[in-house]
């Protein structure tokens, strides 16, 4: 593996003189370039899909994963004291970013779907809720429960685990969809580039035969072809990648899909990911052409 890779470096830099012996144009060239471009184009989309679903999944997961609620049941006269106690506990709990008792209006809004807007909250002995926003590390739910039990016996921690589950499941599904797509496209891209390079090489059997007959060494012939096809795959993949990235920018079609296309785009540093595609295509082409060239040569003397 290491030997061919160091060869790869030498390959891209030099020995352009041997280049002339490989037919420069024709359909075999177009084929390799186009196959790489197509596969790179699809790969950009798969990548965008996978990153976008990942993002979506994160958003869904986080929305609930990073929040919890503390429910305080207490006689009306002790309520404020308990709330204070809970807020103080939370202030010293690691993992808590923000803690805030819900106002009556907020609590009323939460209950509205079931009880209507006219609920006399102040007259009801209902519990008060404290919303807890966790930071990245998250809280230690069991530890917090223990402290609450000791210091504010009416307070119960609800970390939403039960509510989170179906959403997290959906998110996981979406994310795995992205990975399946990217694995599938990558594999097929490898196969298609390999096939195109081998096919192109088979079309050049006559060239290989002539070169061998006039005294060219195997390494010379292989290098000339490998260099040419590696660069072609790289170039094709680069074009495909750029086109794919441009397509992600396209003005969204009218209608609700517009919103989705926007969601499919890449964000910030994610735009760097597609840049890995052309080198990957080149690497695949390098090994594929090398193998094809050496095995075509084996048949000739």
């Amino acid at each position: 593996m290491i030997k061919p890779l160091s060869k790869l470096a030498r390959l891209i830099l030099g020995d352009a003189q041997a280049d002339r012996v490989v037919p420069p144009t024709g359909f075999t060239a177009r084929l390799t370039v186009f196959a790489s471009a197509t596969m790179a184009f699809l790969a950009v989309f798969a990548l965008a899909l996978s990153l976008a679903t990942g993002r979506l999944a994160d958003r869904w997961g986080e929305a609930l994963a990073k929040s919890a609620t503390i429910r305080i049941s207490a006689p009306v006269d002790q309520m404020d004291a308990q709330i204070l106690a809970v807020t103080e506990i939370l202030a010293t709990t690691p993992g808590v970013k923000e803690a805030r008792p819900l106002s009556e209006d907020e609590q009323r809004a939460l209950l509205e779907p079931w009880f209507g807007p006219d609920l006399p909250l102040d007259r009801l002995p209902i519990p008060r809720l404290v919303e807890v926003i966790e930071d990245d590390e998250g809280i230690d739910a069991d530890g917090l429960r223990a402290r609450l039990a000791g210091e504010a016996p009416g307070a119960i921690l609800d970390d939403h685990a039960r509510w989170r589950e179906p959403l997290v499941k959906s998110a996981t599904r979406l994310r795995s969809l992205g990975w399946i797509a990217i694995a599938l496209i990558t594999t097929l891209a490898g196969v298609v580039i390999t096939l195109a390079a081998s096919a192109a090489l088979a079309a050049n059997e006559q060239v290989i035969r002539v070169l061998r007959l006039i005294g060219a060494r195997d390494s010379y012939i292989a290098r000339a072809f490998v260099r040419r096809y590696t660069l072609r795959a790289f170039g094709g993949a680069a074009v495909g990648t750029v086109l794919g990235m441009l397509a992600l920018f396209l003005p969204p079609a009218a209608g609700p899909e517009g919103g989705f296309l926007t969601g499919l785009g890449l964000q910030g540093l994610e735009w760097l990911w597609p840049l890995l595609i052309p080198p990957f295509a080149a690497l695949v082409a390098f090994f594929a052409t090398r193998h094809a060239a050496l095995s075509t040569l084996q048949e000739k003397r």
Binding site: A18, V21, P23, R209, L211, I214, G215
Partner: protein, 224 residues
């Protein structure tokens, strides 16, 4: 330079050559004749290592072909100039580039670039230098093949039917080139059907005529 000892070969469809013993000494000049399909091209291929003898031993420059590494074969071919019967060119390169190809692949170049011009002029292709092989006439391709075979001044020149498609005057000119190279010490073998060419050569150099018949190679006498 090239030694065959009790060599046998067949393409799987029966014996084509058997018990062939032959030696091309340095500076010798040979013709190879025999009816069409007798195995002249096959014998040539054995002589530059494209085919490997089924039986017997082929030695090129004192090395046994069947024991050679692939790179050895390549190296040996740099010392043997071959005119293939079905002239093999790279169609995307110009005539001049094709003729230079043996030098290109061995990383060498001509000492004197004017040598190429001289050679092309001799074989009458100076005006076609930039043409691609498919744009050449049959005879022009054959002459280009000869030019390619001699460009790197090989020790041995094997020419398979080098004059099949050229007129008599040109044939003599090409023969003269080979005779000249032979005088400079190169070993030459020409496969041909053209008895007039052989007669004409015999008046210039001491040429031996080998004839393939009955799967064997024999030296033909004075009577062609």
């Amino acid at each position: 330079m090239i030694e065959l000892e009790q060599v046998a070969y067949g393409y799987g469809t029966g014996t084509l050559l058997s018990g062939v013993t032959m030696s091309l000494a340095q500076g010798s000049f040979h013709f190879l004749t025999g009816p069409s399909g007798a195995g002249k091209t096959t014998l040539m291929k054995l002589c530059y290592g494209e085919l490997v003898a089924e039986q017997g031993k082929v030695e090129l420059f004192d090395k046994n072909v069947s024991e050679m590494q692939r790179d050895d074969v390549a190296n040996v071919r740099r010392r043997i100039g071959v005119v293939h019967q079905d002239c093999q060119f790279l169609n995307h390169l110009s005539l001049a580039e094709n003729v230079m190809l043996p030098l290109t692949v061995s990383g060498r170049s001509l000492h004197d670039p004017s040598e190429l011009q001289e050679l092309l002029t001799w074989v009458g292709l100076d005006r076609q230098q930039a043409a691609k092989p498919p744009e050449l006439s049959g005879g022009e391709r054959q002459r280009a093949a000869l030019a390619r075979a001699v460009i790197m001044s090989p020790d041995v020149i094997l020419a398979d039917e080098p004059t099949g498609n050229v007129d008599w005057e040109m044939s003599l000119r090409l023969l003269q080139l080979l005779v000249e190279l032979n005088r400079m010490g190169k070993t030459v073998m020409i496969a041909t059907h053209d008895m007039n060419l052989i007669r004409s050569a015999k008046s210039q150099v001491q040429a031996r005529v080998l004839r393939i018949s009955n799967h064997q190679v024999a030296v033909a006498g004075a009577n062609l």
